[in-house]
């Protein structure tokens, strides 16, 4: 199963993703530079938009990448129900494209945050969190614009439709303001679309995919993603 790992100018997490996915049985991750346009996605069964600083984060994080030609192909696959993950800058690109609601604003602290955080996985299952429901996981974050914001209506539907699989929390799994690293409303760290095939999250599962990295909590998300294709 072919997974297109997109690389825009300024993307810098593509190798981490490729390596993490390669270790999962059945996954065939291929690097697709965005300049390939629609042709780059012809064989793709799924897409990962990795983190980094596409187009130097100029304009707004993810904004310039969100209007590249290749994103039309991303939209087509999204509509077909193919699984798509956007991590960090990838999440920002997905919101700028409008495939996920809301926007990622500058961190409340006005600082770049780079640290390990705990996440509460929602008890409601999604294709990406199968087997992890209700658990507390540990993943790293590294971003300047991870402050998730959306309007009241959107917030209500995200919560009512159980579309927030990940929230920042403490080690015990309590979702509280003290463990909100960036000011996101309701401690939101990741969301899915209504159809359930698109996940956007600020934390980096690929950086918690081997014991040597300090955590293997992230690999389950990627395994679920691969399983969703097969």
């Amino acid at each position: 199963m072919t997974i297109a790992v997109l690389r825009f100018p300024g993307t810098n997490n593509e190798n981490d993703i490729l390596r993490a996915l390669s270790s999962i049985e059945g996954a065939n991750p291929v690097l697709v530079p965005s300049r390939k346009g629609l042709a780059g996605l012809e064989k793709a069964d799924a897409i990962v938009i990795p983190g980094g600083f596409s187009y130097g984060d100029y304009l707004r994080a993810g904004a310039v990448a969100s209007v590249e030609t290749i994103t039309e192909g991303v939209r087509d696959l999204a509509e077909d129900g193919k699984p798509i993950i956007g991590i960090c800058n990838g999440f920002q690109i997905l919101t700028e494209m409008g495939l996920l609601p809301g926007v990622l604003l500058p961190n409340k602290s006005a600082r770049f945050v780079c640290k390990w955080v705990y996440l509460r996985v929602s008890g409601h299952s999604t294709v990406f969190t199968r087997g992890m429901e209700g658990s507390v996981i540990r993943l790293p974050i590294a971003h300047a614009e991870g402050n998730y914001h959306c309007d009241e209506d959107e917030r209500e539907s995200l919560n009512n439709e159980f579309r927030v699989p990940f929230r920042y929390c403490n080690e015990a799994g309590e979702v509280d303001i003290a463990h909100n690293p960036n000011g996101s409303i309701d401690n939101i760290a990741g969301i899915i679309n209504q159809k359930g095939n698109i996940l956007g999250l600020m934390p980096h599962p690929e950086r918690a995919s081997r014991q040597v990295l300090g955590s293997i909590d992230g690999i389950t998300i990627l395994e679920n993603f691969v399983r969703a294709i097969i």
Binding site: A63, E96, P106, N107, A110, H149, D151
Partner: protein
């Protein structure tokens, strides 16, 4: 053909073939001082028609939206039907006419940069000078419409001035009128002839309606001379001028703005205790290849929606200057 309006020197007739078009017929009348002085000059209607036809075509070629469609006869132009703004836009490069009477400035004093003035179209009050704010308060035009008209007037000044300069003629000042089409396009309307502009030759001899106003000789001769000269000019040699506009993007109220907050704190550390709040946004300075048109303004709205601003967290406005 139905008469829509009868002016002092023009008639506006309904185009029998299209409800969205009119026929503008130029008469031989020449008036000055609000019609206090009026005379007929044979051939004046024709030269005003010919020149308007030529200059509107020239300006259209440079990207300015006008009401002009085509010439129908020696004294008739087919034009888009517009609702005229009741405001005359005057652009001055050199002091003359009412400007000198108003401020006692010596005629012929050049301005360091072009001056745009608005006059209320109202015969009863003798077309008084009016400020932009008064126009807005009276509901005669909106602020962005006035900014737009001013921008197009300055573009027109450049293109008319350059083509006259090629023939060693000087564009002293001119008057424009603007109208809005049914499709809400704001276009240059009325006429473009020595009736509505002051043109001097290199000896500062008037080649325009001042010949009539000041009884200085052969009016039609002067008009024809100007037109002959303009026809000898090379429009393709007039360089396309770029126009600059700004798009200002601000964080919506209620959205936290950390960059503004840290800036405020830093200002506080510098001792500026009077600062209540700072919000940091963005300014895009966009240089356009051609004069501003309603279509370009519509494009800017789409640019904002698609890329320049995020409607969830930001507001935007276009500033024409």
């Amino acid at each position: 053909m139905d008469l829509i309006q009868e002016g002092k020197v023009k008639r506006v007739l309904q185009d029998p073939d299209s409800a969205e078009r009119v026929i503008i017929e130029f008469t031989d009348a020449v008036t000055a001082g609000d019609g206090a002085k009026k005379e007929e000059f044979s051939g004046k209607g024709n030269v005003a028609t010919e020149m308007s036809h030529y200059l509107f075509g020239y300006l259209e070629g440079k990207g300015i939206d006008t009401h002009y469609v085509k010439k129908l006869s020696s004294n008739q132009l087919l034009c888009k039907k517009v609702t005229i703004f009741p405001v005359e836009v005057v652009c001055r490069n050199i002091a003359a006419g009412s400007f000198c009477r108003r401020y006692g400035t010596e005629k012929g004093t050049p301005f360091p940069e072009p001056l745009v003035e608005f006059f209320l179209k109202d015969d009863e009050y003798h077309d008084p000078l009016i400020t932009a704010d008064a126009i807005i308060r009276l509901g005669l035009a909106k602020r962005d419409e006035l900014e737009f008209m001013k921008s197009v007037t300055l573009s027109t000044n450049y293109y008319l001035g350059e083509i006259l300069k090629q023939r060693e003629l000087i564009l002293v000042d001119f008057k424009l009128e603007f109208g809005k089409t049914k499709k809400e396009l704001i276009v240059l309307a009325d006429e473009l002839s020595p009736d509505s502009m002051r043109i001097w030759d290199s000896n500062t001899t008037s080649m325009d309606k001042d010949v009539f106003r000041e009884d200085k000789g052969d009016l039609i001769g002067a008009y024809n001379k100007v037109f002959e000269e303009i026809k000898k000019a090379k429009p393709q040699d007039v360089e396309q001028r770029t126009e600059s506009i700004q798009v200002i993007v601000e964080p919506k109220s209620g959205i936290k703005n950390p960059p503004g907050e840290v800036t405020k704190k830093a200002l506080g550390r510098l001792g500026f205790a009077e600062v209540e709040e700072v919000r940091v946004g963005k300014v895009f300075v966009i240089t356009l290849k051609r004069p501003l048109t309603t279509e370009i303004l519509n494009h800017l709205a789409i640019m904002n929606l698609k890329l320049l601003s995020n409607p969830i967290s930001e507001t935007n406005k276009v500033r024409i200057e």
